[in-house]
Amino acid sequence: MTEPPISKELVQKHGLTDEEYRQIESILGRQPNFTELGIFSVMWSEHCSYKNSKPELKKFPTSGVGILVKAGDENAGVVDIGDGWAVAFKIESHNHPSAIEPFQGAATGVGGIIRDIFTMGARPVFLLNSLRFGPLTENKSTSAVVAGNNRKLLKGVVAGIAHYGNCIGIPTIGGEVYFDESYTGNPLVNAFCLGVLRHDQIRKGKASGSGNPVFYVGAATGRDGLAGAAFASRELSEESREDRPAVQVGDPFMEKLLLEACLELFEQADAVVGVQDMGAAGLTCSTCETASRGGAGIEIELDNVPQRESGMTPYETMLSESQERMLIIARKGKEKLVRDIFEKWDLHAAEIGRVTDDGLMRVKKSGRVVAEIPAAQLANDAPVYHREARPHPAAIDTRGTTADTRGTTARNGSHEFPNFKNDREALLNLLASPTIASKNWIYRQYDHQVRTGTVVLPGSDAAVFRVRCGETEKYLAASADCNGTHCYLNPRQGAKMAVAEAARNLACSGARPLAVSDNLNFGNPYKPENFWQLRECVEGLAEACRFFNTPVTGGNVSLYNESPEGAIDPTPVVAMVGLIEKKEWITTQAFKKAGDLIYRVGGAGKGLGGSRYLKELLGEKRGPLPEFDFEKELMVQEAVRQGIQSGWIRSAHDCSEGGLAVTLAECCISGREGIGATIDL
């Protein structure tokens, strides 16, 4: 099969600008061939290079006393939890594949994030997920057909997550699900995974030591999700629906074997030099990134790569996104040990090449060189763009001023707030709205008790998991939060409040926050209003993470989240992890005993701006947002933590969507036996 000649049209089809193409020619010192063009297009796509968001991501605080592996260095960040133990965690998105094929899109999203964790040498112990869909029932802005499709997407995504998590035996113990018009046609599927490891078990993804063998381990390569990475960087417009490359299919059973085999191999102290999972951009990304991190080169022979389909071209093999595959750089002389361990788990470990010292990524096919690119420049020198930003019309107080009663430009223009005729009916409607209502019908389909560590079952503020650290035990709390409506109305303050809410959820469970992983879900960055939302949210997140002393250990940026009607609400999901020092401090939201006193900590909220009440009952999305003050927020959280540690507090619940009324209702109904409460406003 002769490779097509390089033409202007072919370069554009690969999503590369003329300027980027000239930079490729200067790096190579010649014209790239078709395979090399494909490799650059996938490595320099938004999904892999973050070229449009990198300058913003630099604003995050990433260092801190407990940070053992920083954001950006490896597949996932690692944070100390004491006594020589640590946790590796990260959140990642699989939004575009899930819009095309919800079951496999969500399933492979879970599979990918799990691989990022055990690649660091950690034993994955629990999952969270953060999901967003369009409305499930017909309403003013959603037709019956569209609502039906949203239900189909939700059903497929939940079934996919359940299938993968249940089969591989990692519990899904919490998360959040939102329903809003802006996610119609472009659902958000963010998956979070946390793993546990000793400090001395941390594994790095670098290829070093010239002559060391490079092993390809796991599933054979097929034409799955070809150029999925580049594909994810194009909007889900009508024409992208036709060019649906083969969607990736996940095999959780194969991943369970891969997981156990890798962890068993990592126990052999000096057998493994570096390890990297093959995520987006598969073989390409894993080879050049490990080489560039190790300051070395890498040479592979495609004839040795196990292939599931016949006649695959170098272009297809290098760009394929088949799932459940790893790259392992072993120490010379340990080849037999690597093969034996993988044979035990019925897996094939194919030696496909070796580390070199010329800094080049060289790919051969039947001995003939088909691609030769400087690894470091391919991995790190993607262009960086500083996009134009222009305030989004919907955001009112652009500088996060405190709430005022100035007129608002609502999506549908009405100004004053309604008076309440019937509170009881309003509360029942709020409690029945899918975003607030119990998600038991969803998480009941996830095995949330395997690994016998789930101490607080799903449905409380934060998930709490008992982690076995050798002979001792530790109690971790984790929460994923974001209110897209708040970020739509005021991105900067909305992002601050997302971090604050995650911290509050942890405080209510008795935990002290440690660190954060974030999943930034935004629209097309080439539209100035979308980019302005991204910048405002990033700066808000960074400020809040500095204030709460929770560094960002890594995460994911998903752009081009738009459907034909327009961009989604800006959704910077914050996944925060905390530690509960003592078992007695574990606290849940349910009222425990009649006669207990109920306190509201932090004063009364003012106004209904950005509230669920306006959105669910009046279909309006308008501000101004309630006031937000860092100092007060931290005092409230410290007070709750202090109360819990002193034994005064039996239960605590964060007051968020739906306000005080919904919060009190949830405290009553989430315990085992129904319990009531009388409140004097």
């Binding site: 094929e101 299919v249 194969m254 599931r308 019925d346």
Partner: protein, 80 residues
């Protein structure tokens, strides 16, 4: 009328179940078995006489419900 529908994963799509079953068959001593693929078999009775109309309607049901066109193919057999 009797309808039989066979839904199989597309050739290019990974079929982990097929692979696992093939290995098990080899363990039972039949190494001569190759490219095993597993799919769904759906059979049903349909009232009505008009073969062509039924086939047309059933084809649509196969595309919308019984198979996932992104990753599966289907074959439809219809007899009196």
């Amino acid at each position: 009328m009797k309808a039989r529908i066979i839904v199989t994963p597309k050739k290019t799509v990974l079929d982990p179940q097929g692979k696992a079953v093939e290995q098990a068959i080899h363990h039972l001593g039949m190494e001569c078995v190759k490219n095993t693929r597993i799919g769904k078999f759906i059979e049903m009775d349909i009232e009505g006489e008009n073969l062509d109309l039924t086939r047309k309607k059933l084809d649509q049901v196969c595309k919308d419900l019984l198979s996932n066109p992104v990753i599966e193919d289907y074959r439809l057999e219809l007899e009196k």
